[in-house]
């Protein structure tokens, strides 16, 4: 396995594991929380987990490309935030119950 060959110390895999855990937490959060804002934050968490993975791999593979990718992710995440928040605000503006995802279910079946 090239991973083993490329890394001389154990910690690389640990970072990956941390990233995976973060990603999972994000995913589980998205599934379990009802507030759209929180769900959105969970997505951000997942993206950051990916960022961590990228950086780790970059280190392990000794390839600068992996670190550059993080910048792209950050830009995209920022764009997503802008649009996403706008959508969320426009929908849940003035609703008593707050930004609860469950209140959006006219469409189903």
């Amino acid at each position: 396995m090239n991973l083993v060959a490329a890394t001389t110390s154990v910690p690389g895999a640990w970072y990956l594991a941390v990233a995976a855990v973060l990603f999972t937490i994000g995913a589980v959060g998205l599934l379990s929380r009802r507030n759209v804002l929180v769900m959105f934050m969970c997505v951000e968490l997942m993206l950051n987990a990916v960022n961590l993975t990228f950086v780790t791999f970059a280190r392990m593979l000794d390839d600068i490309g992996g670190q550059v990718l993080v910048f792209f992710t950050l830009v995209v995440a920022a764009a997503e935030v802008v649009v996403g928040l706008a959508i969320i605000v426009s929908i849940f503006r003035g609703r008593v119950e707050g930004a609860t995802a469950d209140s959006a279910n006219i469409l189903k079946g």
């Binding site: 998205l30 599934l31 995802a101």
Partner: protein, 645 residues
Amino acid sequence: MLELVWLIPALPLLGFLILVFGGKRIGEPNAGRLGAAMVGASFLVTVGVFFDLLSRHGEQRSFTRVLFTWLPSGGLKVNAAILADPLSITMALFVTGIGTLIHIYAIGYMHGDERFARFFVYMNLFVFSMLALILGDSFLTMFLGWEGVGACSYLLISFWFERDSAASAGKKAFVVNRVGDFGLMMAMFLIFSKAGSLTYANVFEFAKAGSFTRTAATAACLLLFVGAIGKSAQLPLYVWLPDAMEGPTPVSALIHAATMVTAGVYLMVRIHPLFLVASPNALHVVAWVGALTALFAATIACAQDDIKRVLAYSTMSQLGYMFLAVGVGANTAAIFHMVTHAFFKALMFLGAGSVIHGMHDEQNIKKMGNLRKWMPITFITYLVGWLAIAGIPPFAGFWSKDDILLAAYRDNKVLWLMALFTAILTAYYMSRQFFLVFFGKERFLHDAQTVAAIGPNDAHVRDHPHESPPTMWLPLVALAGLALVGGAINLPFNAKTEFLGKWLESVDLGGRPILAGGALKYGLAAVTVVLGLVGVAIAYNFWLRTNDARAQAALEPALLQRAYGVDGLYSAVIETPGRLLSAWLAFVFDRKIIDGAVNGLGLVVRFAGGKLRKLQTGYVRNYALGIAGGMVLLLAYALARAGIQ
């Protein structure tokens, strides 16, 4: 003349075609005249052909005229061809001859009917089909006629289709006949699969060469006999014939007495070469079925009140005689009886028709009586018919029936006894009918009370019975003449006087010559005549002389009146279960099970859709769960795959 043989069937066909397209315009009575003329012309041609054949000898007496190739396919090649030989021409002679007379008669009988022209359309088509049946040179052309007469019979029986009974009777006749036809078709298939041809000449040659296995030949004969049973109303497929009397009387006379019903006998005689290579048991079956039918029908005829039903059962019974003759190897006798029977039975039917006509559509003989006073010509001619069927010499029936009894005696005493007993019964029931119709009290004259009840203007009251018009009684006279002297065509005194036997010699009918001369012969004839007279005497005693109601009732047991309840039996055993089965198949099996399965597939889709739809809750997190679930499964797969390798 022989070259013109194709005219024999062509002329009635022409008549049919003219009448079918222009019959209504031609109208009454010209449509009838045209029809009769066509059949008459056909008769004249037949006579010409007959004399032409008569002038030839041996092999020369068989002449085949191929018109065109009908069905060529693979090894099968069937021609539309006419076979003129003594057997077919004999048949053609009496078919066209009697046919002509009945056509003439029908002009009078059908007078005033709203479908006068159509009647002759059917009648001409019938004559054509009957001639195709007789003159065909192969099993298939015969079958063409066979089915054709069946169809015409259907059309004519239900001619007065406004009556439900007539409509049902027509249908019954056709369907029951089809059962027989099934046998006939199977026989043809069997013969073809063995002999590779359906032409009589080829098949018989094949048979003579000994190429048929015994089993195949036996099977073919019996299957053909099944067809004959259907067409000639033998046990157990006879049930349609009594009902067929719903048709106009000329139809009963022509189709259900003289011609069509004898087709089965003709067929049995025709396939004689096949019987020769078949097991003797095949002929035994024919004989026994014939004898049993003769006896069975005769007993029923004793207790019927409908003038035509009596004649119908009588026809069955006489046909039984003919099969008996075939079965005991007396083919000539069978043909002989067929001819004489055609004469006297046509005569009696026409006479009955005249009576019905004169009685304003009354058919119950119990409501007639002393008609000799009102209808003298009908009475005289009927008298001849009565004597002929009762087997009183020198009337035609005596000679032919005697031949059959003689042959039966020599072959099997039990059969002979059955035939003899049938002869007594025949004499009895015909006498009973004769006395009830023409003698005794005039039961149709109602007392004052009845007149008051049904009103003075009712036809039964207003009009007395009257003699029929000349178009009707002239054929009666002609037939009476034939019934009187018809026996002369085959007198048993010596080889020279057996004209029919000699004439038919060239057609290989095989069989043993009937004993010529000898004490036994005259003795047996005497026994027959005496027993016939006994039958007449019994009838005279109970129905004319004593006229004792209780004795009469005893002679008409309900079982016989209901014709042994066979119709009910068939209905219970075949019709009802069949209908139930069909209904179950149609409404339960087809709709619920087969179609249910088809629609069920649709329902399964809908059911699945309904269940799956519940997953689509409208909640984002459930959707995310779907994605996550899919992801987990995919990852699990990935890990499993990684683990395997």
